[in-house]
């Protein structure tokens, strides 16, 4: 116990020091504290009645946010990790922040956990529920093969009481029977057909649902305002869910969150109602004001996520103005081959206008050219590109940014110089 308290104190001190140095960096306290007490996470988690782990390739952050909103609407006190801090040090940092006398006083914790970190971290969190959103190819230079990622998630699920699984994703459906019990979410056939997974990347989509009939089903989803209206059936009960988040993939995230919330005893109607109050996480369909224009951010990290953004854009009125910003730093994946795995061809003939930026602005311009949706220009520098792009959008109009992770940080820093660091930085 003494070692734990020394570790917590040292972690907090290190956190303050790094903030004073202007480093932000929410990983620092956790890193320092875990070095002093390697069992810090295990000890603090032992004082939390129930823990939920949310993992998968795409949608972790949004699903976590939705689930937290649902649990809070049901009157639960919830601890969660900030956007993107999804490795052990991020979880440790959050636990240190909320610990009092070596304990965490909360009803429940919801942690987003990186799919490559979940093998080691998942069991330490002793989750009552583990949600797996989807498993897709992601940054092969960092994560390696998808089979390996699936094995990591499988080994984490062996320690979960309940697994909430995507019935429509073959890799996730294949994890059935690993946890104590399974609860499935998914979409009706027309909804499922709009949800890109790795098979749709290569034209092998269609066919029967890979998993069992889901307990939480997205029957329909249609755009409404900047978000959408989704019709859900939750254990036989029909409900409507309003979301501030666009795209069918976010209807899936809502279904995953409802499946987890109801597994934790929240009434389905309460969970569905709470979704309407959840605002998009940074870059996940969030809209900000900038120089009299509305700027919408759609983060993309891999071909499946890119296909979701493409699907969303292809369904919009002609004339949308879009800047695609591709960086190749380590956090983005240094390999940009994945641009060729996405269905960029679906943007041809949409009548939208495209420009590109980022360290790989020219790679993206080549991709668009070969897709038949040529970019009007390519400008690697984010500041120059953003200004030129926004100048070309009519006052009061909407501009859409489609950035990779570090490109999003660059753009947010320009769009909102004061506010983004604390929340977006990992």
């Amino acid at each position: 116990m003494l070692r734990l308290q020394i570790a917590i104190a040292a972690g907090r001190l290190a956190g303050r020091a790094s903030q004073l140095l202007g480093r932000g960096g929410s990983a620092v306290p956790g890193l320092v504290a875990e070095r002093i007490d390697p069992r810090l996470i295990d000890r603090l988690v032992a004082s939390i009645p129930r823990v939920v782990v949310v993992t998968g390739t795409n949608g972790k952050t949004t699903t976590t946010k939705l689930l937290v909103g649902m649990l809070e609407s049901a009157g639960r006190r919830v601890v969660t990790n900030p956007t993107g801090s999804n490795l052990a040090r991020g979880v440790a940092t959050r636990l240190i922040e909320v610990a009092r006398r070596g304990r965490v006083d909360t009803d429940i914790a919801v942690f987003e956990v990186d799919e490559a970190a979940v093998r080691a971290l998942g069991p330490r969190l002793r989750p009552a529920v583990t949600v797996v959103t989807n498993l897709a190819r992601d940054q092969l230079d960092r994560y390696g093969e998808l089979d390996t990622t699936a094995a990591h998630v499988r080994s984490a699920l062996e320690h979960a009481a309940i697994a909430v699984l995507n019935a429509d994703d073959p890799m996730v459906a294949g994890l059935a029977g690993t946890a104590g019990a399974d609860r499935f979410f998914g979409g009706s056939d027309p909804v499922r057909a709009q949800m890109p997974d790795d098979r749709t990347l290569y034209g092998d989509a269609g066919g029967p649902r890979p998993g069992p009939e889901p307990s939480v089903l997205v029957r329909a989803a249609e755009p409404a305002g900047e978000g959408q209206r989704a019709a859900l059936t939750v254990d036989g009960e029909d409900l409507e869910v309003r979301l501030l988040l666009p795209g069918v993939y976010n209807a899936y995230n809502a279904a995953a969150a409802v499946a987890a919330a109801t597994a934790l005893g929240v009434e389905a109607a309460v969970a569905a109602g709470a979704a309407a109050g959840v605002v998009p996480a940074w870059g996940r369909g969030q809209t900000v004001e900038y120089r009299g224009r509305r700027v919408r951010l759609l983060l993309v990290k891999n071909p499946a996520g890119f296909n979701q953004a493409i699907r969303l854009l292809a369904g919009e009125e002609p004339g949308a103005q879009v800047m695609i910003s591709i960086n190749d730093h380590t956090a983005d994946g240094r390999d940009v081959s994945w641009l060729w795995d996405a269905r960029v061809e679906d943007l041809a003939g949409t009548g939208h206008r495209f420009v590109t930026s980022g360290t790989r602005a020219l790679d993206m311009a080549v991709r668009l050219k070969y897709a038949g949706a040529a970019a009007e220009w390519a400008e690697p520098d984010p500041r120059t590109a953003l200004d030129r792009f926004v100048d070309g959008v009519a006052a009061g109009g909407t501009a859409t940014l489609v950035p990779t992770y570090t490109a999003m940080l660059d753009l947010l820093h320009l769009l909102q110089p004061d506010t983004h660091r604390r929340e977006a930085w990992t």
């Binding site: 190819r137 092969l140 230079d141 093969e145 998808l146 089979d147 990347l201 290569y202 034209g203 092998d204 190749d328 240094r334 390999d335 940009v336 081959s337 994945w338 641009l339 060729w340 795995d341 360290t359 790989r360 602005a361 020219l362 790679d363 311009a365 080549v366 991709r367 050219k369 070969y370 897709a371 390519a378 690697p380």
Partner: protein, 237 residues
């Protein structure tokens, strides 16, 4: 005029954007008014390689490569005949390895190849990952490599190029890829052809001559964006 592009194992060997090679060949034909017919060949599909003008195949995950290795054995005679007849082949990473004599795993297990190229590959622990630049007969080629196999060329085997930056076939020899008649093998993803238009056109030119004779010509295209992208990629760490 038309050319047939056969995409070998599009579902199985597809994870590093190698589909971009098929897209590049097709568009560069269409932009010149030449029809491009793409045929997709999965493991087990019957296929007559004399129908193809360019055969393209990519890299995949280990499990997929095992299935593909067995399938290639059944086609070995047909493919070697097509190579001898001058059909153009572009094989990347996993399929490039299987176009050699064998792949020897870390534990000494052997996966036989089909011997189009005089080379063999040995599994390693460390992956060779990063941006890569080669010097070749057709100018510099720029791409991204991601492989744990180390490929060693036989005595007389001509490489595709010499490594200016990156690893290439292995970390010792500074050579990259292999060429035999009109068959090319390489570790370069990227995808390779879109950012290396001169090399893409070299493949198309050879295929056109094979099918339509010496007077078949490829008109020029504006490759400004492609070249600028290659130059930018070559400067990335």
């Amino acid at each position: 005029m038309r050319l047939v592009i056969a995409h070998l194992y599009p579902a199985e060997m597809n994870i590093y954007g190698d589909t971009g090679n098929v897209i590049a060949l097709s568009r560069r034909l269409e932009w010149r008014g030449i029809d491009a017919v793409v045929e997709r060949i999965a493991v087990g599909d019957p296929y007559d390689f004399t129908a193809a003008d360019v055969v393209v195949a990519g890299g995949g995950e280990d499990r997929a490569q095992l299935a593909v290795a067995a399938d290639l054995q059944r086609r070995a005679g047909d493919i070697r005949e097509a190579v001898a007849a001058g059909t153009v082949f572009l094989t990347i990473c996993g399929t490039y390895q299987l176009f050699g004599h064998r792949f020897v795993t870390h534990d000494g297990d052997e996966m036989p190849g089909i011997g189009v190229f005089d080379l063999e590959t040995h599994g390693g622990d460390e992956r060779m990952i990063g941006n890569i630049v080669l010097d070749t007969e057709w100018g510099p080629l720029v791409g991204f490599e991601n492989h744990s196999g180390r490929t060693f060329l036989g005595e007389g085997q001509q490489p595709l190029g010499m490594v200016r930056k990156g690893y290439g076939n292995n970390e010792r020899d500074f050579d990259e890829g292999a060429v035999a008649a009109n068959a090319f093998g390489s570790y370069l993803h990227g995808a390779l052809l879109p950012k290396n238009p001169a090399f893409a056109d070299e493949l198309l030119r050879r295929a056109l001559v094979q099918r339509h004779g010496d007077d078949a010509v490829l008109g020029p295209l504006d490759d400004g964006v492609e070249r600028a992208a290659a130059d930018a990629a070559a400067t990335r760490p």
